[in-house]
């Protein structure tokens, strides 16, 4: 089990967590346990002073929930404060909170947009789509096919004709894909009582 000092300040911290994320207290404890498992020498047991610890990207992507996901690097980068993928416990909680089943569609859409936006210019341009496609097909499509698909995507989804997808274009497309809500979630065994 997780053994650490549950002193009063930390309990209060839990209520902060509970109010700002979609987790219960038990799930928070388990999350902390998992976070600590990633780097036990780095993460202290006692979180009362709110230490500024960041677990690097290379360790986070070893988690079984993220290991096989082709977008794992992008997901971790999006939810890290420094943008490089080094997550503090707050970022870690944020990530799983958005990816859990209870989080609403709007929140997931916003973060999905951020994940697909590689160059962080608030638009999904052709290069972003290019990179997404390469990640999903691992170089098995020829360059011409990749280019064709990207053109097709922009042609279909771009409403205002600026050859890139803004957030409203993306949101419009997602609204026609009701499966997105169930697909964009982390199948984590964190939240089942085994």
């Amino acid at each position: 089990m997780i053994g650490f000092h549950l002193c009063k300040d930390f309990c209060v911290l839990f209520y902060f967590f509970q109010d700002c994320t979609f987790f219960t207290r038990k799930e928070m404890l388990r999350l902390h346990g998992r976070y600590r498992e990633l780097a036990p020498h780095l993460v202290p047991l006692d979180y009362t002073n709110g230490p500024d610890i960041r677990v690097p990207l290379a360790l986070i992507v070893t988690m079984p929930e993220l290991k096989e996901n082709p977008f794992r690097d992008r997901i971790v980068e999006t939810f890290s404060e420094d943008g490089e993928g080094n997550q503090s416990f707050n970022d870690f909680v944020d990530m799983f909170s958005v990816l859990c089943e209870a989080s609403p569609r709007e929140l997931k859409t916003i973060y999905a947009f951020k994940i697909y936006d590689y160059n962080r210019d608030n638009f999904i341009c052709k290069e972003d789509l290019h990179q997404t496609l390469v990640k999903l097909t691992k170089g098995e499509l020829s360059a011409e096919e990749v280019s064709l698909v990207c053109d097709k995507v922009i042609e279909e989804a771009d409403l205002d004709g600026d050859a890139k997808l803004s957030f409203s274009d993306f949101e419009n497309m997602i609204s026609k894909a009701p499966d997105f809500l169930s697909a964009f979630h982390c199948n984590s065994r964190l939240f089942t009582v085994v």
């Binding site: 509970q18 994320t21 939810f79 997404t132 999903l136 499509l141 497309m173 997602i174 894909a177 169930s182």
Partner: protein, 616 residues
Amino acid sequence: MNLVRELVAMSTRDRVRAIQDLPMSFQEKKHIRWVLKHTGNKSPCHCYNLTSFRKCGSNVRSARQTLELWQGTMKEIGGKFGTSVLSYFIFLKWLFMFNVFSFLVNFGFITIPQLVIYITHPFFFKGYFNYTVMYYGSYSNETLIGAMDYKMQLGYFFTIAVYMLLCGIALIFSMANSFRKNYVLADSTSSGAWQLLCSWDFSITNERAVRQRKNNLRIQLKESLSEKAQHEQLTSSEKLKHFGIYLGSWLLSTSLTVGCGASIFFLCQYEIKAETLLVPFVVSLMNMVIPLFYSLFNKFEHYSSQRRQIYALVLRNVLFRMCILGVLCYYWMNVVACWESVVGQALYRLVIVDFIFLMLGSFFGEFLSNVVGTRLLPRLGVPEFDVARNVLEIIYAQTLAWIGIYFSPLLPAIQILKFFILFYIKKVSLMHNCQPPRRTGRAAQMKTIFTALLFFPFFLGALSIVGYTTWSLTPSEHCGPFRGLNSTFSVVEVWIKEVEAIPGSKWVVFIYQKVIRSEIFYFLITIIILIIVYIFWQVSQGRKQLIVLLRRQIVNEGKDKSFLLEKLQNLQKSQELKVRLERSTIPGQGLLRTMLTIGTLQRSRRRTVQPPSIVS
């Protein structure tokens, strides 16, 4: 901060929800919460009550999560096979819950009073021992005298009626909910944008499954790229050929259906004693074999989209099953001598044999296909889990239960066992024999279609059979709770007459006579509903046109934006040029050039011809 002001104005629960929904990092949310805490003027003990209440709420939530049935298994299946296969298991669990509710209600309101009657009047045992409490025949029409008089007749009738009503309402709400959220009449499935950006299932964690998904996505993308080219190439002779094939397969399937229906009818008449398992065996065998023929026909036909292919297959299967059930029900309505129990027994046997065949079907459909696909004919490959076929099978099983509830009140108990065991059999078969689906199907739309299928032909069919039985058919003379009455429904009439005698209950009688029994009321209600539907339809048509106009507006605004950006860029360029000329080191020439440039600019802007002020 506007955000803080908005949040302060909300109630606590809304505020918590709003903070959870903010797309900010956790640090920022913590900061907002801290700001809120220090701007609100809540008293400390009020705060304490709220936090303790919320703690209680979250404890209840986590307790409910642990009690939820099969949650771990479902997550495992979802992780390995994706959401479309998971939708089958979710649907199975939902139907399971229907049966649990039905069993509890029937047992509580019908069986327990009957058992009490048996205990208090033991001499009744002798006459009614032909049938157990499983069937209609053993229920008496007595009244339990106690603290409150409990009439078995009314209890039986109202329990069944209320259960069917609640089922219907639950189905309608679920269907309406699904329609609203999922059934957006959108572009076709094979659109590239959807495949690329929305179809990746983030919940898959198995390495092999991920690899297969990537493979499938690549194949689908290639197909969608080549599909565009294919569309325009159908010549008229090819179209005629396709039409001929459609017509041929529809004729074949209809004749198969009619043939099976007729054979079942003659078989029923030929079978003298209803105790043999011949009819259920033949029915279940047909249910297993004929859909395979339909799948075969489907493979030969050429459809423009995968969705239409699935719809055609599902439609044929549904028609077939409805036909078989219809023939059986028609035959049952014409049996004599305690016919309700006979029908109850027939249905019970049908349910059991259907269960055996479901297990056999799992064996043949998945296990053998796997063996054939991996060892004997590797070209076929590992089979996929056929969601549509399996869902139809459980819908059919549930329909049998719904029809049988009137004739055999404890049939839901059998159904509960059946679905429970089926869940585990299907799970084991899935894990060992199947691969994840090749096409990323639209699971949410499938759920809507399943629910709609469940409701429209099957539930309404079962309801009409039960309704017809209670309304028009005479209950048998010597058994069951409705013996001696003209129809089951006359129980209510008798009851209303008794209620009339009680003072102060005129309104009940009034409602019964003027509302439930009067035809004018239903006629008026129908007219009003039709008018409302027409109005809503016109509103939705208007909205569609509005959407088209708004899209055109977005495109125009995009064009305006790019036009203005271009103009801005040109203006900036000319300003830059002007600044560069001013900074040029040779003053005389610079001045002259500046003056000339200014003159040119002024001329171009105001379109007036002005002689330069200084000429060298």
